[in-house]
Structure formats: C-alpha cells, structure tokens
Amino acid sequence: MPAVICDGLRKTFYVKDETLAHLPEFRGLAGRLKYARTKPIPVQAVNNVSFEVAQGEIFGILGPNGSGKSTLIRLIATLLLPDAGTATVFGNDVVADQLAVRRLINRVSVEASFFKKLSSLENLRYAARLYGLEPREATARALDILERLGFDRWKAYGSLENLSRGMQQKVAVARALFTSPVLLLMDEPTTGLDPRSKREVQDFVLEVRKAHDTTVLLTSHDMTEADRLCDRVAFIEEGRFVAVGRPEELKERYSHLRPGGRVTLEDIFLEVTGKHWPGEEDE
C-alpha cells in the first residue's frame, strides 16, 4: 500500500487585497466600511495535485515561496480541509479518518512550534502525553535522539527561548521522531541551521528511514539537500506540480540546460519555476 496518495487535490484561499486599504477612497470610516465590503481575491494554493509516495520513500517537494508547498503539507497533516480531491495516508483519508492519520504522522515545520518559556524536556513531556507515550521513557528516548543530533543534554533543562534556532529545530526533529511516525512531514526542517547541524539532521533522517522504513515527505529550498536525501522530487509552482521524477532522471531530462556540463537540481528549479532563487521566508 502506498504511504501517501493524493488525487486531484485542490485548495483555494480567499484573501483581501490589503494594498487597497491605503487608497484614498478606502480611508475614513465610510472608506473602511467600503473596504470591508470588497471581495476577497481567490488564491489557488494547491491546484489539482496528484501523486503517490511509496512506503519508505523520501519524497521532496521543491518550489519557491508561496508555491503551495506548506499548504500541501498542511492538507496531509489534517490541518486544512481540501476543496476538492482526496489524500490518504496508508489508506486513511485525511478528512474522514483524521484521528487515524494523526496517529501515523508527525511534522517538523519551518518554525519550531514550542512553548518557548518551557524547557525542551517540558515540551517533550507534553508531546509524549499527547501521543500516549509514557513521559519518562519517551523523554529518555528523545534525549538519545538529541544527543545523536549533537545537542548537549544539559541544555534540555533550560528554557527553549535561550536556545539558538538550530538547537530548537533539533528539539523539533527529536519531538517528531520519538512518537514513531510512519510518515514524517518535514516542512523546510533545516532552514536556518548551520552546515554541520544541517548535515546531522539529514544524516539522521537517512538513518531513520534505513532502520525503520519511515516515509518522509520533505519540502525544501535547499536543492543540495533534496539531491542528497530524496528518492524522488516534485517541483511545485503556483500550486501545480511542474516536474516530478528521480533526481537523476530529471537531470537527464534537463541535461540540455548545461550542454557538456553537469546539470543540477538548482538549474532545473530555475528552469521549471521561472523564478529567482527563493529566500528563507516561509510561504
């Protein structure tokens, strides 16, 4: 059974054009009321996306800011309801079988979602209780993972807000892994990490996959990371998959981009998205 099946997935958001609010006709009380009546603009974040991810596969979703990567992850993470199409995780529908899906997944997002005043251990104990794990055993396991990621054990007792972003992200990775997800959703997990930390997290993801056959859905801006980790990648642009395949296959397909040279995923990214190189901002 495939780990993930997405079929014709669509998601549109409706947002107000905030630039209008600065126009003279929308100033003052009457103007504000007029602005409140303006129609929101539809923004198609995910547009008819279909793909399958096999068990144990690391599948990369690569795209510029605002291309729909995080929306796609949120749809699979049961944080958003699709407008159309279906998504299943090991046969469980993300809408109809939310609780079952939630038991099978965990997520590392680009921003470490923690109670920053609490310590790493306190945050991990909270996570353990939510996932039905015995807190003492679970935190011991998380500490082992943290140590494996180059995290000083004693730092786990201090407030998370005093840790660097890289350290916080390592705690987020440990928290996601100690719950034994069969599907790991990693939304730009190494953004903001120094090269060593980035390498440690990447190594760990590969080892976890090797040891436990964990399926990983990874979004990234880092083409080198995608090339290193992913079995297959999909380039997403304006909510659509514009190229999907194994990195080597894609390099072969786009070899014309560097005649006589070695084409990279970065070259393909620039070609298929037609965008400048993305920054570090989340979409």
Partner: protein, 306 residues
C-alpha cells in the same frame, strides 16, 4: 553515539538490534497502521488530559513572576472593593461580605472563562496551535484538559485571595452554609466552562478580533450579573439580560448561602438552573468549537499567523 531510535513502534527494533529486515519493518508499519484505526484507549485520553494540565502548570512556574503580580493585584482589587462597604451606611459586615463574595466569585469564574476561552488565542500566540491541533487526540479531550486545569487553578487562586481577605477583614461566617456555597460554586463552574467553550471559538474565527470578542463577552457578563450590586440596581432595560447570565444565579445563591445561611433545599432552584445551563452549554460549546475548528481548517486560519 547511540543508534537512532524512533520510539515505541518497534521496541528493541531493527536499529537497536543492529540491522533491519524488510519483513520486520513491514510488519511493524502494518501494525502501526492497524493500531491507528482502533479507538483511543481511555488511558491515552486521560494521559493527554494530564498533559494539558501539566503543561499549563509548567507555564505557571515559568511565568511565576507574573503570577505573583496578578495575584497581588487580585488581592488588592478584592480588598479595595470590599473597603467600599465600610463607607456605606447600614450593616457593614454584611456589605463587606456581599462585595467580597462578588469579587471572589467573579475572580474565580473569570479565571475559568479566560483560561478556557483563550486556550486557542494563547496557543496561536505561542506558535503551538498547529502542533496541538494535529495531535492524535479527541478535541473534547483537549478542551476537557484545559477546563480541569482552569478549575484547579481558579480554586487555588481564589483560596489564596480568600485567605488574604479573611486576614484583612474580620468576616463573620458563623451562620453561613459553606457546603451549600461550595456546591453552588462547583455547579456554576460547569456553566462557565460551557460559556468559555463557546467563547473559545472566536479566536478560531478571527485571529485578532477573536480575543477581543471574548473580552467583550466577559465584560457583558460582569455588567449584567450583579457582581458588586443587586441586579435591581441595573437600568430597567438591562435587567432582563441578567437572566441569561449563569453568574447571576451563582452570585445570588452563594450570597444566600453565606449571608443568610440558606439551606441546600432553598438553594436548589438556582443550583437547578446552573446545572441545566451547564448540561446545555457544555455539549453546545463543544459542538460550536468543533464547527469553528472545521471553519478554521477550511479557511486556513488554523495556523500561528492566522
């Protein structure tokens, strides 16, 4: 360096044993997939409930300085309100107790209302909303944990304020029906939990204005419930609105128990109204919250930045 482990799916699994076989990992994943469809165990639900209570007390510990400041303000505020009675004509002792009951009960009920209604706004502010909402627990378990914490925290905080007020004023509770007052307090808690659950939906609907709406709702309850005055003191057009506030019945019954020594039988009509309110509002609050959650999931508001 320890080998990577991913938790309880395979205790002592392939990594720990130095190598994985495709068959064993397949079996483990098949087991996890089958387990995911089973109903949550009661033990897991209790553990998750405890998780919310424990987490919130961790936060109290970390924000302890602020807790002390708020507690100090709460005590001084209660004393200040009660001191107004000393300047009024008539039975000063009775008036002091009337105002102390109002301040204490309002303090307790507003803690419950606040903690429950702002649970979403708080998670959004901390940036943990997505993590909490994608946890494999029933929403009722999540909210139940928040409610239990709110009641425990409210009781502790109100007890400290009561202790301070008792030391300051020589309160005469000789003829008071303390058990009756406590019964009313517990039953009123359910009604306020229900109201809090309904108010908790506002931050799901609107990121900024949601929290503002809960404060407006709380202010309205303070105005019409007669916390510091008899409801009859309200303008005639406002008096009918006091009927819809559970705090009106809670204040009336607790004052009757403490000031007049009303028996449990005499308190029963108000206890009955509060109980019915709780029975109606808690499931209604849960239903409203779940509808709000679905709206937030449809519109993309279930995230930290809204």
């Amino acid at each position: 360096m320890p080998s990577p482990t991913v938790g309880g799916r395979k205790p002592g699994g392939p990594a720990a044993q130095g190598g994985a076989t495709a068959a064993s990992t397949d079996r483990a994943i098949a087991g996890a997939v089958a387990d995911a469809r089973k109903p949550m165990s009661f033990r897991a639900e209790i553990a998750a409930t405890l998780g919310f209570i424990e987490r919130n007390f961790y936060l109290v510990k970390r924000y302890f300085g602020w807790e002390l400041v708020f507690l100090f303000y709460n005590i001084v505020n209660t004393l200040t309100i009660a001191l107004i009675a000393t300047a009024l004509p008539g039975d000063k002792g009775r008036m002091v107790l009337f105002l102390v009951v109002g301040a204490l009960l309002w303090g307790y009920l507003s803690v419950i209302f606040h903690d429950v209604s702002e649970s979403v706004a708080w998670e959004r502010w901390e940036g943990t909303i997505e993590y909490t909402f994608m946890a494999p627990i029933h929403r009722a378990t999540h909210l139940f944990g928040m409610c239990i914490y709110a009641v425990i925290y409210g009781v502790i905080r109100s007890s400290v304020v009561l202790g301070a007020v008792t030391l300051f004023f020589n309160l005469d509770l000789a003829g008071a029906n303390l058990l009756g007052a406590l019964t009313v307090l517990m039953v009123a808690s359910f009604a306020f939990i229900g109201l809090g659950l309904m108010a908790a939906v506002f931050p799901l609907l609107s990121t900024e204005r949601g929290a503002q709406a809960t404060h407006v709702m709380e202010a309205f309850l303070l105005l019409v419930s007669g916390a510091y005055y008899a409801v009859s003191a309200l303008p005639a057009w406002l008096q009918p609105l006091s009927v819809i506030s559970p705090a009106t019945y809670a204040l009336r019954a607790i004052r009757a128990a403490l000031l007049d020594g009303a028996t449990l039988g005499q308190l029963l009509p108000d206890i009955g109204i509060l109980a019915i309110t709780g029975v109606v509002l808690i499931p209604a609050g849960l239903a409203v919250f779940q509808a709000g959650e679905r709206y937030a999931m449809r519109t993309g508001k279930l995230k930290r930045s809204g």
